[in-house]
């Protein structure tokens, strides 16, 4: 294989994309390159990576149980820097959302997770849910801080999507730029930008859609006594720092995000905005991950994995490397783009017509 050839070109700037590249390169000895833009300085978070989600179906919990510990192994010496143990609160305030969380909690308990019911603002009985103890969170800032050297060490090149032209040809996925011409056997699309660029809407509209999202950062204040909150009604992920800063990624525009924080935070929160960013994300129509090859093309996708994307990276790498266990293979077959998918649907707020 010429030096400018790769097994996979992975498109995406998230920690998941980088971890997928690292897992393929190290565990599965594949030659990979990354097409990613470095996060801008002071950029607000676009996602949160924790090891649990509000899954109602057993196969998701089972996959995570099989994958437990793999991310830590992949991170190796960096694990203690970038992984932190946390309590994750899964919350809702609609009857449908609360029902779904009931199913998720009992499924979590069946898989041995320690859970506890919780109520936020109990005086109004407004937000209910449960917490999962002993979950893990990937800390993005320290992860990105060590990523450059790590990728260099593993000889994984990073190409900027702004300076690279990509074309899908019969003999492979060709990346070209000034003084650059590389070819990859396949491309793995992990973000909205690449999926929108390379795939026709007619192929994807029944699988996923782009939705507006808003990321909010607040100044330190009196926050909730929670570490991570995942709201299934608002489709929101909120991270509370020990100093009271809050990072919240909420489905909808900034007005919706503001309303969400207003009812989430306690009256004494005294929080002030420190940053707001609006962007769009791909969401699967059925709330379940979409992982696999698009038809018989050279394009593969790994989308709609939040908030557990980083923790699924080792398992998804196994899948793309063709080294899955039978149980894993069954999981990925059911979550493939062309699968029937009725057996994988998860709770989605929009399926009940709910909007904040």
């Amino acid at each position: 294989m010429p030096e400018s050839s790769f097994d996979f070109a992975i498109f995406g700037s998230s920690p998941f994309a980088a971890l997928l590249a690292i897992a393929l390169a190290t565990v599965h000895r594949r030659k990979v390159c990354l097409v990613a833009r470095q996060p801008a300085a002071l950029q607000l978070a676009r996602s949160l990576d924790v090891s649990v989600a509000a899954w109602t179906r057993p196969h998701n919990w089972a996959l995570m149980q099989r994958t437990r510990g793999e991310l830590e192994s992949l991170l190796g010496k960096h694990a203690s820097t970038v992984l932190t143990r946390t309590e994750v609160a899964l919350i809702a305030r609609s009857p449908s959302g609360v029902d779904a969380l009931g199913h998720a909690r009992h499924m979590a308990a069946a898989f041995g997770q320690l859970t506890a019911r919780l109520a936020i603002h109990p005086e109004q009985d407004a937000i209910e849910g449960f917490s999962v103890e002993g979950a893990m969170r990937l800390r993005h800032r320290p992860f990105y801080a060590l990523l450059t050297d790590w990728l260099e060490e593993l000889a994984i090149p990073v190409f900027s999507p702004d300076q690279t032209t990509t074309s899908i040809k019969r003999n492979g996925v060709v990346l070209s730029a000034e003084a650059l011409h590389v070819i990859a056997e396949a491309a793995i699309l992990t973000d909205a930008r690449s999926a929108t660029e390379f795939l026709l809407p007619s192929t994807t509209e029944k699988l996923w859609q782009a939705s507006p999202y808003t990321s909010v950062l607040t100044e330190p204040g009196n926050a909730l006594r929670l570490s991570v909150a995942i709201d299934v009604d608002a489709t929101a992920q909120t991270l509370m720092h020990p100093d009271g800063r809050i990072e919240s990624i909420v489905r909808g525009n900034r007005d919706i995000a503001a309303r969400y924080l207003t009812y989430l935070l306690p009256a004494h929160a005294n929080a002030r905005y420190a940053g707001i960013a609006e962007f769009s994300k791909l969401e699967s129509v059925d709330g379940a991950p979409v992982i696999g090859q698009i038809g018989s093309s050279r394009l593969h996708v790994a989308l709609a994995l939040e908030p557990v994307a980083a923790f699924l990276a080792p398992a998804i790498a196994r899948h793309f490397a063709g080294e899955c266990s039978p149980d894993d293979a069954a999981y990925f077959l059911a979550h493939a783009p062309q699968a029937g998918r009725s057996a994988v649907a998860e709770f989605t707020a929009n399926s009940f017509g709910q909007r904040q």
Partner: protein, 668 residues
């Protein structure tokens, strides 16, 4: 009032808005402060020697027009309103104010302090614990009928635009944050061949007085601009009672004549009490006749430092030295300053400022400067006041809020306006014009565009370099010096980290992000000055500028607490169908069954149902609970197991409970 310049000490700095025949005192945190009619709380405090706003990061912090504590009026002056901004709050005799966040001493302590001759030099606010956000609300009240044009900024460009629009019959509102019109034009002096600034101001002011369709708002800040809406902040005084007034003005067109502000050079101790920007010091002296301190060092890289030295000398102040960062500057004002006998040094840059234990307040360390701040040698200068001029930063906050583009001009190391949003016009020095004529014409041209009138383009030739040197490029930063913080702006509280990361090591991904987030302003909204300084000192790449401007340059509004109604549970109707997440879980056509629990009670939705009591493997579950109350329990059960009277086991969190199926044709 030793910090006031004499009334007849030169026309420019005599205090044009104060009435020296009406002197009185007011109370600030229980201490008497002398003032004249026309003073603001800020100008009176500064003139009384209160040079500090408080302390932050273990150092005293300067009080100035960009950064001052918020006030509440006390006693009969209290109208129960929101916080008052010192710079916009006029004073009258016997008014009483307290600084928010300042320690309130007892009357006995204050009396003792007076008897002991202790001089109050700081408002004493602890900015580590005192939150200082925007004064206005994030949710303004609805606006009235839109006016034709709002002009923001009452310098020559704004005045010219307002007069032209007024003459053309438009309804115009002119908003000026200071107590008088004219802007900073008088600071820069007149150019040969151009109309004189003072004459222009006088003529335009007269015209404005004669136009009935023009409404001028002085001491009024345009705090936020949204499409077609301008939010203003001012302090209203009615019957000796103070009210913070946030007003919402709807407008069809917005003309921004917001001018330029002092750029803060980044070195340690750059905001110690006694340090002030050139334009701020000029305004304080020009409007209020206030010039604290006896000995002043003026430092910077613009020709205005020489003019400032001259007018201050005319007003009787001692200028210790004028230090120019440029090595061979040319300016007629420099020649005049030499003729005044002022001590001038070139190629000299301020490295750091420390507090002095001697009679002078400040100890300024200077050194030779070339390029971007590499230095050799150095001297220390003791002074009471340090006036800094690091060039000018266009005020583009409102421009950006209205959707205007802001770009970084690397060759000049400045931020500048790019593409304009609809119905918005940037004029005057904020748009890059320097001379009186060009500012005047840019104002008239904006109105010409609104009225679809053919106007010649504004042309301005730069002054020949051999006569008037350009301003020095802004310095990056000076890393050495005292223990005092190096702030990034006059108005924010973000500081440079003590140890700057090695920018040469930054490459792909975000080492700089990590460094910045850990040490600079990662958890604060940023003002334009701070963002510009981050680029200037090399902590923020130009590529990232757009993102930071877009995401982090926002008003730090508080998030209001929810009302009880907002906290109520969502009342969306429950779906009439089995949820999608249960599809194909228990076979293709599971049945809706009613269960009877062995001990009647509420069972949580989601409990798994097993065939026997020893079932615990989720994949072997035959169904699950959908909902329940004390009387009945609805379950979804696989067809093969859905038979009346069949016994099942319901797995609750704390153990299994026996139940049986009472019916298999229930409705969801």
């Amino acid at each position: 009032m030793s910090n006031r310049l004499a009334e007849n000490s030169g026309a420019l700095l005599s205090g044009s808005v104060i009435d020296r025949s009406k002197s009185f005192t007011f109370l600030l945190d229980g201490h008497e402060v002398p003032a004249f009619a026309g003073d603001t709380v800020l100008s009176a405090a500064l003139a009384a020697g209160i040079a500090g706003a408080g302390h932050h990061l273990g150092s005293p912090l300067a009080l100035n027009e960009q950064f001052s504590p918020y006030l509440i009026a006390k006693g009969p002056n209290d109208a129960g309103s929101a916080a008052l901004n010192m710079a916009y709050t006029p004073v009258f005799a016997n008014a009483k104010f307290e600084c928010i966040g300042a320690p309130q001493h007892s009357k006995l302590r204050r009396t003792l302090s007076t008897l002991l001759g202790e001089k109050r030099t700081s408002a004493g606010v602890d900015f580590a614990t005192t939150t200082r956000g925007p004064l206005h609300s994030a949710n303004p009240q609805s606006a009235s009928k839109p006016t034709d044009i709002v002009v923001i900024g009452g310098g020559i460009a704004g005045m010219a635009a307002t007069v032209k629009a007024g003459r053309a019959g438009y309804n115009v509102v002119l908003i000026e944050r200071r107590p008088q019109l004219g802007g900073d034009a008088l600071l820069f002096g007149d150019r040969d061949g151009e109309r004189r600034a003072q004459e222009s101001i006088d003529a335009l002011s007269q015209e404005l007085r004669d136009l009935d369709n023009v409404h001028v708002l002085l001491l009024c800040e345009a705090v936020e601009a949204r499409s077609g809406i301008i939010l203003t902040y001012s302090v209203r005084v009615e019957d000796d009672r103070y009210t913070a007034n946030t007003h919402c003005i709807a407008t069809k067109n917005t003309i921004l004549a917001t001018g330029c502000g002092d750029r803060l050079p980044v070195f340690k101790g750059n905001r110690l009490p006694g340090v002030i920007g050139l334009a701020s010091s000029f305004h304080l002296a020009h409007a209020f006749g206030a010039w604290p301190g006896d000995n002043t060092l003026i430092a910077g890289g613009s020709n205005a430092i020489y003019r400032m030295g001259m007018v201050a000398t005319d007003a009787g102040k001692k200028i210790t030295q004028i230090a120019d960062t440029r090595t061979e500057p040319h300016s007629r004002f420099r020649d005049f300053a030499k003729a005044y006998g002022l001590r001038i040094s070139s190629g000299t840059q301020v490295r750091s400022v420390d507090l002095s234990s001697e009679s002078a307040s400040l100890l300024v360390k200077t050194g030779l400067s070339w390029d971007d701040g590499a230095h050799a040698g150095g001297t220390e200068i003791a002074c009471d006041r340090l006036v800094l001029s690091e060039g000018w930063l266009p005020r583009l906050r409102l421009w950006k809020q209205l959707g205007g583009e802001v770009v970084w001009l690397d060759e000049r190391r400045v931020l500048a306006a790019g593409r304009a949003p609809a119905n918005t016009f940037l004029i005057g020095s904020a748009a890059g014009y320097a001379g009186t004529n060009a500012c005047f014409e840019s104002g008239e041209q904006a109105v010409g565009t609104i009225s679809r009138q053919e106007m010649p383009p504004v042309c301005e030739d730069p002054l020949p370099e051999m006569f008037e040197s350009s301003d020095a490029l802004p310095t990056r930063h000076v890393p050495e010096g005292t223990k005092h913080p190096a702030y990034l702006s006059w108005e924010g509280l973000s500081v440079l980290p003590d140890s700057m990361p090695d920018t040469n090591k930054w490459n792909a991904y975000t080492k700089p992000t990590l460094e910045i987030m850990q040490s600079v302003p990662g958890d604060k909204a940023l003002c334009l000055q701070e963002t510009e300084a981050l680029v200037r000192v090399g902590l923020l790449g130009q590529d990232d500028l757009g993102n930071v401007l877009s995401e982090r340059m926002i008003p730090p509004f508080p998030i209001p607490p929810a009302t009880p109604a907002q906290r109520n549970r969502l009342s969306t109707p429950t779906s009439a169908q089995v949820p999608s997440y249960l599809q194909d879980r228990f076979g293709a056509e599971p049945k809706l069954c009613m269960l009877v629990m062995s001990a009647p009670r509420h069972v949580e939705a989601g409990c798994l149902i097993y065939e026997t009591s020893d079932g615990s493997e989720p994949n072997s579950a035959i169904g699950c609970i959908l909902r329940s109350d004390h009387r009945c329990t609805l379950a979804l059960i696989a067809t093969d197991y859905a038979h009346e009277d069949t016994r099942v086991s319901v797995a609750e969190i704390h153990g299994n409970t026996a139940a049986w199926i009472s019916s298999t044709d229930a409705e969801y």
